[in-house]
């Protein structure tokens, strides 16, 4: 589903001395079926934005539209969005509560009012999607490893089969192999099933590798958006938004200090850099 955001603002604890404007007149559009990444330093409004998209809080001003469903500042609740947007919060394994993995994953579908047969099917599918073997369904989620617990939590959201999946730093705290495998799983699933993914991350390499489109938040505003090749080719701007560059871009920039003509800043995979260097050698050799 397409996500359309217009003039969105959000103020925490309005009319108190602690009042703080988290989002300020944000407008953006995330096309249906996109793998989008939201970037920005801590406190830039990322987590507020995804909560608004997920219909978990109501905007102070402006509107969020997910497919045909819209929420305004005067909407009664965001529940129309909640049905279509699945939000996986940071460290989602901390929300597990049921005695078994299966029952925990079933929580969402059950709340959707599905029949027992449908629920069982949803749970089975979701477990398969995230790569949890079926016999784990009867185990307690609290006996699993950290990486597996996180997969259970994500399956709990996927089982609701949302049209939009929002992930807030899904790899935080995982070691690099588990993190990579997890994102790869989600990426493959998104390619197959063509739902919209919104990934919030601090890891520029993740964003560069998986996202079709990036949105940079800075001080509650959407400061920049575009495909990775465009966004990451402006290192000065990123610095201004207190963001890092992908590791590979740093390497390319280092090489460019003495290469003429410079390597393009649109390289995000090692293979691409390798190929570029090889052709370069061919040309000059």
């Amino acid at each position: 589903m397409e996500i359309l955001i217009e003039g969105l603002s959000y103020v925490y604890m309005p009319d108190t001395p602690f009042s703080r404007q988290a989002l300020n007149d944000v407008s953006l559009r995330i096309p249906s079926g996109t793998f989008a990444a939201i970037l920005g330093p801590t406190g830039s409004g990322k987590s507020t934005l995804i909560q608004l998209i997920g219909g978990l809080i109501r905007p102070t001003a402006g509107k969020i539209q997910v497919g045909p469903h819209a929420v305004h500042h005067n909407s009664k609740s965001g529940s129309s969005l909640r049905k279509h947007v699945g939000v996986v919060f940071q460290y989602p394994e901390h929300q597990l509560f049921a005695e078994t993995v299966g029952r925990d994953i079933a929580f969402g579908p059950k709340n959707q009012g599905l029949t027992q047969g449908e629920i069982d099917e949803r749970v089975r599918l979701a477990m398969q999607w995230v790569g949890l073997s079926p016999e784990l369904a009867e185990r307690s989620p609290f006996q699993l490893s950290g990486g597996q617990m996180r997969r259970v939590a994500i399956a709990g959201v996927l089982a609701m089969q949302p049209d939009v999946l929002v992930l807030d730093e899904p790899t935080a705290g995982l070691d690099s192999r588990s993190g990579r495998e997890l994102l790869e799983t989600i990426y493959q699933l998104q390619r197959e099933r063509r739902f919209t993914v919104i990934l919030v991350t601090h890891d520029m390499d993740e964003a560069a590798r998986y996202a079709d489109f990036l949105y940079i938040l800075s001080d509650g505003r959407c400061a920049e958006s575009g495909p990775p090749a465009q966004v990451f080719s402006q290192p000065e701007k990123l610095r201004e938004y207190k963001l890092d560059l992908p590791e590979i871009s740093k390497l390319v920039l280092r090489l460019n200090e003495r290469l003429n003509p410079p390597l393009p800043l649109t390289i995000f995979r090692l293979e691409e850099l390798e190929r570029e260097l090889l052709t370069r050698k061919g040309e000059f050799g």
Partner: protein, 260 residues
């Protein structure tokens, strides 16, 4: 929230928490000495001066006392209705209001207000840490009688430290479950209580994990109970506390002379 600490530098803020704690404790008894308009008036005046010297704006004070006013209203209505004595002022079918009822309602309201105002002034002008320290220090002499003053204070201090953290965590888990379709708002009481299970279980698990982590962190920072420990926070009585004591003595004497 009622009486949440408001940082400041007023004379009340600068007083020693022990002095303020002892004062509020004594004041609770002093309030019961009042039994006529003069004594009540004196106490109201005294509390008013206290509010003035706390430099807390009246609107803030009023807002924090709002829930108290509802309680006051309820109890005074109860007194109006139940207390008999004196002349009947007003009668309507089964309800008769007596002079004594009106007087009691007014006195009870004032007494209630005075107590809550004193307690609020204490918490408005004393940071929770200072309160904890004050209590620890006041309880210290009773340690020989088996009162675990240090442990109580440490517990309070850790609670103060973690209440905001756990509160945030509760909100986060609640939102995470809402995102999974949990509904905390509709249905009858039983259903609503039940709907909180998916919030409470993760919260407990997290609190236990935090406690475990914290215990490790404390141990590795050489914590081993109150023995041999020095204190960073020191409390000092100042001339302001002496002023408070003097005022209290004058107040007591005046109350004694003015009461019927």
């Amino acid at each position: 929230m009622i009486g949440q600490y408001i940082p400041g530098h007023s004379p009340l803020h600068q007083m020693d928490p022990r002095a303020k704690l002892l004062f509020v404790f004594a004041y609770m008894f002093a309030v019961f000495l009042a039994n006529n308009p003069a004594t009540y008036g004196l106490l109201v005046l005294f509390t008013g001066i206290g509010i003035y010297f706390s430099r807390i704006s009246l609107s803030v004070f009023y807002r924090s006392m709002k829930p108290v006013f509802i309680l006051i209203l309820l109890t005074s209505l109860l007194h109006l209705w139940m207390t008999r004595g004196g002349e009947a002022l007003f009668s309507f079918s089964f309800l008769t209001i007596y002079e004594e009822g009106v007087r009691q309602a007014i006195y009870i309201s004032i007494r209630f207000f005075l107590l809550m105002a004193a307690a609020s002034l204490l918490t408005f002008t004393t940071s929770p840490i200072d309160l904890t320290d004050g209590m620890e220090s006041l309880l210290k002499p009773f340690e020989r009688l088996g009162v675990p003053a240090h442990e109580l204070a440490l517990m309070m201090s850790i609670a103060l430290r973690f209440i905001p953290t756990l509160w945030e965590e509760t909100e986060k888990i609640k939102k995470a479950q809402m995102a999974r379709g949990a509904d905390f708002e509709s249905g009858h009481v039983f259903k609503r209580v039940k709907s909180y299970i998916p919030v409470l279980i993760p919260l407990f698990i997290s609190a236990f994990r935090r406690a475990e982590d914290l215990a490790l962190a404390m141990e590795s920072r050489c914590y081993r109970g109150g023995k041999g420990r020095t204190k960073w926070r020191e409390l000092h009585y100042s001339h302001l506390d002496v002023v408070l004591l003097l005022l209290f003595v004058i107040l007591l004497t005046a109350l004694w002379l003015l009461r019927k």
